[in-house]
């Protein structure tokens, strides 16, 4: 198999974007899943369970060798032979050897991602064995000679017509495209395979050390047949599937099916403790039962403090389910064997850095996956860490290295931005840049790009600084580059409102970029340097709060500064700084307790786009709606909390995806009947406003500060 290059990856993305069936299917799925998931979690404590799973998985990883030894001892007592495979190749060889030892010719399999991980089928077929997948989706993709496009629904990318074609070819009989009939074809065809098989291969969702039990979750019941009918059963799982007790497994089962398919439980959970009678072997004879624990890089990953949380994964597939990128391009472009956010990560650790090089770039950083992960894995942060390592290993692209260098020197960065103001003159058209020839900004035509403002906020500040308010709160303004240089009007509007509310405002001039863009690109040194510079800039002012109108800056500072600066010996300074950071909406509602009388409400029909970094990054839900309710007629719209497609540098790297996400987003606001769309982040603003401009500018887009300032009571 060839390693993807960025160029052929773009080609493949384009192809997926043109697949109307795929797009429609994944769209429907995302919408239905979101609603069903909410319903099915209603009767359990979702966040509590996830936190417990994370904790128990971490504890298991700390004691994996003991758990393995305990499992092995318990299982051996009950007739199970336990193996350990260090590599994928070793695991393949073990299975082939077992087939040879027991004289097996025909093999049936129930679904196992671990078997997919090691490309087991290839090895078995090469060894002359006949292998049949029995999970319906897996069987379909096996017949098509392709890999799964989702960890739980491996054939989600195919239509009933494609399945009918595959079955027609496999059965040499014309098959109807009626889904219930197609399922019957599988029931019939696969029954014969079950009966003939000498060996059954299954995965394992859990291996319970205290009793030597392993468990398999399935909906179809093929797991129960695979483990019962053939005379040899080989189970294969990663060593990360070891848990100390039954309780740990029962706990995961409360979340895994809910998160995977919005079911309270899978139809079948089979708990296998020991080798039982097998009449195929002979009367009174036992089944030959083996379990293989696969390492394949897991032991090293456990020692990797920044990324080991990936081993908590329970393979529910939910990180793909709500991923805005997966929704557009499907699993074959969003992973290698493992799919979704966890797929980007595990590809790097299990299938080689080379293969992950391009894939790891395709995360928009919206944090939706982190928000719903069954094991509480901070997937976007691990992906950023992987990008940083890939940059160190392979060198970064010219533009990201250049940005990294420039951002480490604030004066140079700001001079360049001001120079940009003159450089853009030939293409500037009001507040926007005229459509650029593709050579300057390839495929950016889906949105209008903003121009650098005539006067940056830092230059406006001396003339708009409000008078001091003795005894009132002291609030520092963290401008962030986008609003300092491109949208100073957002900040100016915020200053007008805050001046009305009588607070002391300060704008420390030596502040710079928050560092998120370089962090996203994996430029670690630059991210550290900017973080340090900002803390030093605010130090002398000792503000009570530091407000930012950029949700991305706020979320980056709050979630990453502590980690970035861990080795910089700044002591309590870091926490003191990050604790003071607050978003504009929360400052108004929670701290300054703004009242409806502050605004004139003329019932303007206003919608709200939740920036990813506000709702998921900072957990802010109510504040914006409260403010819009005071100052206008707030109209809820579908998926107002899903990503707008900006993702910072993501939209430059993958404009084809960013553009489609934006288009869908704007459509939903139009459907809700809003005339003004408000958001709390200059990045989202740039994306949404740029898209609305391209569509003729009928939908007005404003930052929260602008909308509120426009409705400020006289």
């Amino acid at each position: 198999m060839t390693t993807p290059t960025l160029q052929n990856y773009h080609g493949s993305l384009k192809q997926a974007l043109g697949d109307d069936f795929l797009r429609q299917t994944l769209d429907n799925f995302a919408v239905q899943y979101r609603a069903n998931r909410q319903l099915i979690f209603a009767d359990v404590n979702e966040k509590g369970l996830i936190a417990e799973i994370a904790e128990s998985k971490e504890a298991s990883l700390d004691h994996l060798e003991e758990l393995y030894a305990q499992f092995r001892e318990q299982a051996a007592k009950k007739g199970i032979t336990v193996h350990r495979a260090a590599t994928a190749k070793e695991a393949q060889e073990l299975v082939c050897q077992l087939a040879k030892d027991y004289d097996c010719k025909k093999i049936i399999k129930s679904k196992s991602m671990t078997a997919e991980e090691i490309h087991l089928n290839h090895a078995l077929i090469e060894a002359g064995l006949e292998v049949t997948e029995t999970d319906l989706g897996e069987w379909i993709i096996q017949l098509r000679h392709e890999g799964p496009s989702h960890m739980v629904m491996p054939a989600i990318h195919l239509s009933r017509y494609q399945v009918a074609d595959v079955f027609t070819e496999a059965t040499k009989t014309n098959q109807d495209s009626d889904i219930s009939l197609l399922v019957k074809v599988a029931r019939q065809e696969l029954r014969a395979k079950f009966v003939e098989a000498d060996m059954g291969i299954s995965g394992a969702n859990f291996a319970i050390a205290e009793t030597g039990t392993f468990a398999i979750c399935t909906n179809e019941g093929n797991g129960r047949l695979t483990t019962t009918l053939p005379r040899v059963h080989v189970a294969i799982c990663g060593i990360d599937k070891l848990v100390p007790t039954l309780h740990d497994a029962l706990r995961v089962i409360k979340v895994l099916p809910r998160n995977a398919t919005a079911q309270a439980i899978t139809t079948y959970v089979s708990w296998i403790t020991g080798a039982l009678e097998c009449q195929r072997t002979g009367t009174g004879q036992e089944k030959k039962l083996h379990i293989i624990f696969l390492d394949n890089g897991r032991s090293d990953l456990i020692k990797d403090t920044k990324c080991r949380q990936a081993l908590r994964c329970v393979r529910c597939g939910a990180c793909a389910n709500l991923c805005p990128v997966f929704r557009l391009v499907g699993g074959h472009r969003m992973g290698y064997v493992y799919i979704g956010a966890i797929g980007l990560i595990l590809t790097y650790f299990f299938h080689g850095h080379e293969r992950a090089k391009v894939l790891a770039q395709n995360c928009i950083g919206c944090e939706t996956c982190k928000d719903i992960c069954a094991a509480g894995i901070d997937l976007p942060t691990v992906i950023q860490e992987i990008r940083a390592r890939l940059n160190e290993e392979y060198g970064s692209t010219m533009d990201s290295a250049l940005l990294g260098k420039v951002l480490q020197n604030r004066k140079l960065f700001h001079t360049l931005l001001k120079f940009g103001k003159w450089a853009q003159l030939p293409v500037k058209k009001g507040r926007y840049i005229r459509h650029l020839p593709d050579i300057f900004a390839p495929y950016q035509g889906f949105r209008a790009l903003p121009a650098i403002a005539d006067k940056a906020f830092r230059d406006l500040w001396p003339s708009i600084k409000p008078p001091e308010a003795p005894g009132a709160l002291k609030i520092g303004v963290f401008a962030g580059c986008a609003q300092d240089f491109i949208y100073p009007r957002h900040l100016k509007a915020a200053v007008d409102i805050l001046a009305r509310l009588k607070v002391n405002l300060e704008f420390p001039e030596t502040q710079s970029c928050c560092g998120l863009p370089v962090q996203m690109m994996g430029q670690r040194q630059a991210a550290i340097a900017t973080a340090k510079g900002n803390i030093e800039a605010f130090q002398p002012f000792a503000p009570d709060y530091i407000v930012t109108l950029c949700a991305s800056c706020a979320s980056h500072i709050k979630s990453h500064y502590a980690d970035l600066l861990a080795k910089e010996n700044l002591g309590e300074q870091v926490k003191a700084f990050t604790d003071k950071i607050i978003d504009f909406s929360s400052l108004l509602t929670d701290v300054l307790k703004v009242k409806p009388e502050t605004f004139v409400n003329n019932q303007e029909r206003v919608g709200y786009h939740y920036p990813c970094h506000l709702i998921r990054g900072l957990g802010v839900v109510e504040a914006p709606k409260t403010l819009l309710g005071m100052s206008g007629q707030y109209l809820p719209s579908q998926e107002e909390d899903s990503c707008c497609g900006f993702g910072g540098t993501y939209s430059m790297k993958f404009p084809e995806i960013s553009g489609v996400i934006l288009e869908n987003k704007l459509k939903r606001f139009e459907e809700a009947g809003v005339t003004c769309l408000v958001t709390d982040c200059p990045g989202c603003f740039m994306q949404l406003d740029g898209g609305a401009q391209r569509k003729g500018g009928k939908l007005k887009v404003e930052h929260m500060s602008e909308f509120l300032a426009r409705h400020l009571a006289k």
């Binding site: 799925f29 319906l136 079950f194 909906n219 179809e220 439980i265 139809t267 959970v269």
Partner: protein
């Protein structure tokens, strides 16, 4: 364990519906057997999943209850044969083309997921409950607990004591692998009845 947790029973019944489990109320095990015979009588003759020599030859409906105690089995055979069924207690491997109905008794019920806990040491019971078109599970109400944590100590004891094959069964076999359309009966039963015994 003879008291009935009525809240748990109600929860079981409520959770059974959305996962297409058909709940029946019976007063005793023998009534559950009678119900099973009726279900077998009413269902259409099952389809065979493997080729047979003479597909047009007349066939009897098949009903299996491998792990049933002798006394109940004697009753079931007598009544089943009266209705013209082929009654199966063992050698399930000879019936892998499929049977009509399998009957089994659950050792426990878990209410919040409408789960029947089957402990099937016998291969015949595991096979019968998978290759049938209709599975009837008898579950005494007194064995229903609220959630899996309440079943934990019992399950752990079973797993610790000796070898075991425990199945949580929470509906008929299902798939949504083609266009995410829910379809019942992909490998296992097309329908699942749970007969709640009032004891």
């Amino acid at each position: 364990m003879s008291t009935i947790n009525t809240a748990a029973v109600d929860l079981f019944v409520a959770k059974a519906k959305p996962v297409t489990i058909q709940i029946k109320e019976v007063s005793s095990l023998s009534e559950a057997l009678t119900l099973t015979l009726e279900i077998c009588e009413q269902k259409p003759l099952g389809k065979l999943m493997l080729p047979v020599k003479d597909p047009d030859a007349p066939r009897k409906k098949t009903l299996a209850a491998p792990a049933l105690a002798a006394e109940s089995w004697d009753y079931l055979v007598k009544e089943g044969e009266k209705k013209g069924f082929e009654m199966i207690r063992d050698n399930l491997r000879q019936y892998l083309a499929g049977i009509d109905v399998a009957f089994s008794v659950a050792t426990m019920g878990i209410a919040d997921t409408a789960t029947s806990v089957l402990e099937s040491l016998s291969e015949d019971e595991r096979l019968a409950t998978m290759i049938c078109e209709t599975h009837v599970v008898a579950l005494p109400k007194s064995k229903i607990v609220s959630d899996s944590y309440e079943a934990e100590s019992y399950l752990r004891a079973s797993m610790t004591k000796d070898r075991n094959f425990i199945a949580f069964v929470s509906g008929p076999s299902r798939t949504a692998d083609i266009e995410r359309v829910l379809t019942l009966g992909v490998h296992g039963p097309l329908e699942l009845f749970v007969a709640l015994i009032n004891e």
